[in-house]
């Protein structure tokens, strides 16, 4: 599957030269991508060749029920810088937030970019509401569900950016008033790869595209449709504070000495042990930092239904279903164990009284009963 564009004929290498991007910066970008994809170092040349010979792949960016957080994440990309991503590497022909066209012109741009089925990639941001025939998100008079079925259904592949488009995300949190679902569920049977996260990490988006350019297929995924290169290991296992966990050194309260010393946030409800993502390695905002590095525990945003299953954010364990939020699992457990102990203490008392009232006559045992 070679990606060709209907509109551009010059290769990416030409474009980059024209834009004044140095060969050195280009190679740095390719080596970063090779590393992100966890490819052996001898794949470097192949990645370089694939990326530089690529003609601009057409990419449309659909935005549904969301906060534009993934767009924000994209705009803060530095390798490649935003201009390189948007204008050179990817031909983003349709992106509601950053394109200059509006109204009918914008819809025309989308129709043109997606005119030829199987010729373009789609990035989807935001969940798709399905309740009440999908009226909770409409663009140009069409529902998100309708648009997704057409555009994603005809695409070469769909990349979902962020937890909303992957699994429904925050709009799908209980009680899910709009019946929000992810793309894979809304348009069954299409080729889709999930890049969840709140927001997704743009390094992983770029690397997924580079993988597609280099090998002509999407990277291997896990049980939740997430690429293994980015979601193949747990945050907890790659965490820079892991040594404090193993040592038994924990932050007990926000701002205490342990917190200032950068100890483990496990007791503050960090969901790193329950979350698969490469945040500790790729980091955010030009690889500057990431939540745990900034002293806040992981909230598990790249896991399905994280808003319902990872809360309370600042407690280690979820609430026991059906009980008030004031009850912790340990309190429930102690009450159960205590009630059993109390119950049998009463039973013991009862047995004692009975033995006084009606002493045991061993000879009266009903032997024949069995």
């Amino acid at each position: 599957m070679k990606i060709t564009s209907t509109k551009e004929s010059s290769t990416l290498a030409d474009l980059l030269t024209k834009k004044g991007v140095s060969r050195r910066d280009f190679l740095k970008f390719c080596s970063a991508m090779t590393a992100t994809l966890a490819l052996p170092v001898n794949y470097f040349e192949r990645v370089v060749k694939a990326v530089e010979q690529t003609k601009k792949p057409v990419l449309v960016w659909l935005e549904f029920q969301d906060c534009a957080g993934n767009t924000e994440s994209l705009l803060r990309a530095s390798t490649p810088s935003i201009s390189e991503v948007v204008l050179d590497v990817l031909s983003v022909d349709y992106h509601e937030t950053i394109m200059s066209a509006a109204g009918r012109q914008a819809e025309e741009a989308l129709a043109m970019a997606t005119a030829e089925p199987g010729s373009y990639l789609v990035v989807v941001e935001g969940s798709i509401p399905t309740k009440d025939r999908g009226v909770y998100c409409t663009i140009g008079g069409r529902t998100a569900l309708d648009i997704a079925q057409e555009i994603c259904g005809n695409a070469m592949a769909t990349i979902t950016c962020g937890t909303c488009s992957a699994y429904g995300g925050i709009p799908a949190a209980a009680p899910n008033p709009t019946g929000a679902i992810g793309v894979a569920e809304a348009v069954p049977g299409i080729t889709v790869i999930n890049l969840p996260g709140c927001p997704m990490n743009v390094t992983n988006l770029t690397a997924t595209v580079v993988h597609f350019l280099t090998f002509g297929q999407l990277p291997l995924t896990d049980n939740f449709g997430r690429p293994l290169f980015a979601y193949g290991s747990r945050i907890h296992d790659d965490c820079e504070r892991r040594a404090h966990f193993d040592a038994g050194q924990f932050v007990e309260a926000w701002g205490d000495e342990a917190h200032r010393a950068g100890w483990c946030l496990y007791k503050m409800g960090c969901k790193g042990p329950a979350t698969s993502h490469n945040c500790p390695v790729t980091r955010w905002n030009d690889q500057t930092n990431w939540p745990i590095g900034a002293g806040h525990g992981c909230v598990g945003c790249s896991e399905p239904n994280f808003w319902d299953t990872m809360t309370p954010i600042y407690r280690r364990l979820p609430n026991v279903p059906g009980l008030s939020v004031e009850w912790t699992a340990d309190q429930v457990g102690m009450v159960v164990a205590g009630a059993v102990a109390g119950g049998f203490a009463l039973h013991g008392l009862g047995s004692f009284i009975r033995n006084r009232v009606e002493p045991i006559e061993r000879t009266e045992v009903e032997v024949g009963e069995e």
Partner: protein, 252 residues
């Protein structure tokens, strides 16, 4: 059949019968030790109540040590379950059989189950005479075995996450498709408390039946031998009488 007759004769002579074979007793006490160790280390892993200062004498690997003990003990516990499962299906005697865990499958078992419940609610003076597990105990152990397997599955699923693509990950990662990661933790945690509650009940009930029925229940899990009730030490006078009447119907 002849073996059974011989057994019954031996019971009549001595008043005692060999119930719990060595693997049963061995796995029982292995489970006791494992559950105690797993509960203490597991509770620490879930809620590390000791925060270690780097200057303290037990070094800088306290959680690591707790987790190591927890995982190593978990393997021993699984080994014990494997042995006991084998003994319940293939190797063991009638009292070790899995059938004792599902008394409700037979009308006789259902009757005993009801009568044992009546006994616990003071509505009956004595529980039905039983040699192995009484019906209610067997039923409870069946539930406890389910809890054991729940702990093994959830525990190894959580453990396997640290090694994606490894053995335990391959065997257990399907679980997270159906149950969220945090819910798996909650289940693992709550089942620990259920097992602690069970331990309270287990020791109390064993003591109750041992004292009231004088059948050597408590010592049987050490020695393997139980005493049948009519020939217990507290009715020696009666015992003499029964020896003079050898034709009395079999006291099983």
């Amino acid at each position: 059949m002849s073996v059974q007759v011989a057994e019954e004769k031996s019971i009549e002579k001595t008043g005692r019968v060999y119930i719990w074979e060595i693997p049963v007793r061995l796995t029982h006490w292995t489970n006791v030790a494992c559950i105690i160790i797993l509960s203490f280390t597991g509770y620490y892993i879930g809620n590390p109540y000791i925060s270690v200062s780097p200057r303290e004498f037990y070094g800088t690997y306290f959680m690591g040590l707790m987790r190591f003990i927890h995982m190593a003990t978990a393997y021993i516990f699984v080994g014990s379950l494997v042995v006991r499962t084998y003994w319940a299906f293939i190797g063991g005697n009638q009292w070790a059989s899995w059938r004792a865990l599902v008394p409700f499958f037979t009308p006789e078992g259902r009757g005993k189950l009801l009568n044992t419940i009546l006994y616990y609610f003071f509505l009956r003076r004595h529980p039905p005479t039983t040699l192995g597990h009484n019906a209610l105990a067997g039923f409870t152990y069946g539930f406890i075995v389910l809890l054991y397997f729940t702990q093994v599955l959830t525990g190894f699923a959580l453990y396997g996450q640290s090694d994606p693509g490894g053995l335990w990950w391959n065997l257990t990662s399907w679980l997270f498709i159906f149950v969220s990661n945090q819910m798996v933790r909650l289940i693992h945690h709550l089942v620990m408390w259920l097992l602690i509650a069970f331990a309270v009940h287990h020791v109390y009930s064993a003591w109750l039946v041992d004292t009231e029925e004088a059948n050597g229940l408590m010592s049987s899990i050490f020695s393997g031998w139980k005493f049948i009730v009519p020939e217990s030490s507290e009715s020696k006078a009666k015992q003499k009488v029964s020896h003079q009447q050898p034709d009395k119907p079999g006291e099983k």
